[in-house]
């Protein structure tokens, strides 16, 4: 028994360097942000008062919530379709589909945003193509607005939705659907009453992942919004970089951080989060 615990002691030594590094250089700075948010410029919750009184901030939070909500809904629906197809095609086609998804997943977010700018801007490829075939006379405004931001964000988030949904769908036995059909249900009924409820864990996991990641998303909104669609994360950068308002920037950061953890705490009651984040 003693040997066993000694044994474990030496294994804690392996864990220690990473944990110490993380606590000192990651957790401590985060706590410092929380601390600054209640001490700069004066001690107290003065910065947080602005959350309720400042109508400009209200607008930013509304924009953030709106864009994240739409992005999440679109991503999960589109992701479900792809995951459903993947779970129902032959191995070879599945591999091809998976390859498209993984390649996108791995590609730098900056490059993807750049490509979307190229496609969506006023003199971009989509407008040029539409004008060439005569579908439109004047270019459409596709970027530097919410539309562009949502397109870019859905594109970024899709792999994050498809992968957990697919992992879930792959585990659903086809015999349930077959049984429902055999008992006289139509194809659609079998899907709606049997298959869809069984895929709920995957859908929930994808929804959380996408929503949480959208909340703090920075690059795509900054590039495709062209400064016109200001979400919280971009505003934090503005508050700190252009106006040096540390109190405000840290207050917004802390609120965002609390928001994310609160969301995760709520959903962890329903879903195994460690599985969602791939750490089983």
């Amino acid at each position: 028994m003693i040997g066993r615990s000694l044994n474990h002691g030496s294994y804690w030594v392996l864990i220690a360097p990473a944990v110490v590094l993380m606590v000192v250089f990651y957790v401590f700075p985060l706590l410092q942000v929380l601390w600054i948010s209640v001490t700069e410029p004066t001690f107290g919750f003065g910065n947080y008062e602005e959350l309720f009184t400042n109508s400009f901030l209200h607008r930013i939070w509304r924009t953030t919530a709106f864009i994240c909500g739409i992005t999440t809904a679109l991503t999960v629906v589109l992701g479900y379709v792809v995951a459903y197809a993947m779970a129902h095609v032959r191995e070879q086609q599945m591999t091809a589909m998976m390859f498209c998804i993984l390649l996108t997943f791995w590609l730098s977010v900056l490059i993807r945003a750049f490509a979307w700018v190229m496609l969506l801007r006023t003199e971009g490829m989509i407008n040029n193509a539409l004008m060439f075939i005569g579908a439109i006379d004047d270019p459409l405004r596709l970027s530097r607005n919410q539309f562009g931001v949502i397109v870019g964000m859905v594109h970024f988030m899709l792999p994050l939705a498809i992968l957990p949904i697919y992992a879930n769908l792959r585990g659903i036995s086809q015999s349930y659907v077959a049984a429902a059909r055999g008992l006289g249900g139509s194809g659609f009924q079998a899907f709606r009453m049997i298959y869809l409820p069984l895929s709920k864990p995957g859908i929930i996991a994808a929804t959380i992942l996408v929503f949480v990641f959208s909340l703090g998303f920075f690059i795509t909104p900054a590039i495709l919004g062209g400064g016109r669609v200001v979400m919280v994360s971009e505003y934090i950068r503005v508050a700190f970089e252009e106006t040096l308002l540390w109190g405000k920037a840290t207050m917004l950061s802390s609120t965002l951080l609390f928001g994310v953890f609160l969301l995760l705490a709520i959903v962890s009651r329903f879903v195994n989060l460690r599985r969602v984040f791939g750490a089983t």
Binding site: Y11, I15, V82, A85, H88, L110, I111, V260
Partner: protein, 269 residues
């Protein structure tokens, strides 16, 4: 009748799925022709194909030094993250108690914290440490960001590894460090390499934190691209992007190969 409708439904779903996948790969597909444009602005090739933007990339001091800096930073962060993350994952796996499970969840923190919040926090602390705009500062930040991905991939590999093999080595008199070096690590090598590829990609592409914690000295490739997109859309960016797509493709293929080996190891058990 039902059968026909079913097939119709299937075709619809399949068609829709491939349309969405087309949407996914579209940006990658359009970058390539643009990078070959003969114009000095961002457009499709007008009269002929040209490699001038690739030449510009390979002869321009600014682009080359940015690539070099990114390479140095990504390599150092990957090495640090792989060592720390692998040891941590092995420790958690071996102890496998409630506390070690909590540690493993805790190590995922950098994935969960919104990037801007993380960047602001690190910047603030890096000022106090006087490591803003230094290689060391960026490498430290990227190591922290990459550790979770190594922990995840190595843990996945360890899940397939029989704990008794490790115990046998210990019982036969091997020390902890000998056991890890000679028994555990060789077994989970595919997982470690996967983690390394992940870490390298993440560090090489990381932009938000770099934007906060660097100013004039450190100019990584993503930072150059970011500035390029903000200033004027130069076709050189399309050439850089194409090169990065090719590199990503190669890294992904390497990772898939490693994953196959990992699955084969699982099947052998």
């Amino acid at each position: 009748m039902t059968e026909a409708r079913l097939t119709f439904g299937r075709c619809m779903v399949l068609g829709l799925a491939w349309t969405i996948l087309g949407f996914l790969v579209l940006p990658m597909v359009v970058i390539f022709p643009v990078s070959l444009t003969d114009q000095y602005y961002l457009s499709l090739p007008q009269e002929s194909l040209s490699l001038e933007h690739y030449v510009k990339f390979f002869t321009n001091e600014i682009w080359l030094s940015a690539t070099g800096q990114s390479f140095i930073i990504a390599t150092c962060s990957t090495i640090a993250a792989v060592i720390l993350g692998t040891l941590c994952a092995i420790g958690c796996w071996r102890i496998s108690s409630r506390a070690s499970e909590a540690v493993r969840a805790f190590m995922l923190l950098p994935i969960i914290v919104p990037t801007v919040v993380q960047a602001l926090a690190l910047y603030r602390f890096w000022i106090d440490l006087r490591i803003v705009d230094t290689y060391f500062g960026v490498i430290l930040a990227h190591t922290l960001i990459c550790i979770p991905y190594v922990v995840i991939t190595v843990s996945a590999s360890l899940a397939n590894f029989d704990l008794r093999v490790e115990q046998a080595a210990r019982n036969l008199g091997a020390s902890v460090s000998q056991t890890i070096r000679m028994v555990v690590v060789p077994q989970i090598m595919p997982g470690i390499l996967s983690g390394a590829i992940f870490a390298f990609t993440i560090s090489f592409d990381e932009i938000v934190t770099v934007l906060f914690i660097t100013s004039r000295h450190i100019y990584t490739l993503p930072k150059r691209i970011w500035n390029g997109i903000q200033d004027h859309l130069d076709p050189t960016i399309a050439a850089v992007a194409t090169l990065l797509i090719v590199v990503t493709l190669l890294l992904l293929l390497a990772e898939l190969w490693l994953r196959k080996r990992r699955d084969a190891a699982r099947a052998n058990r």
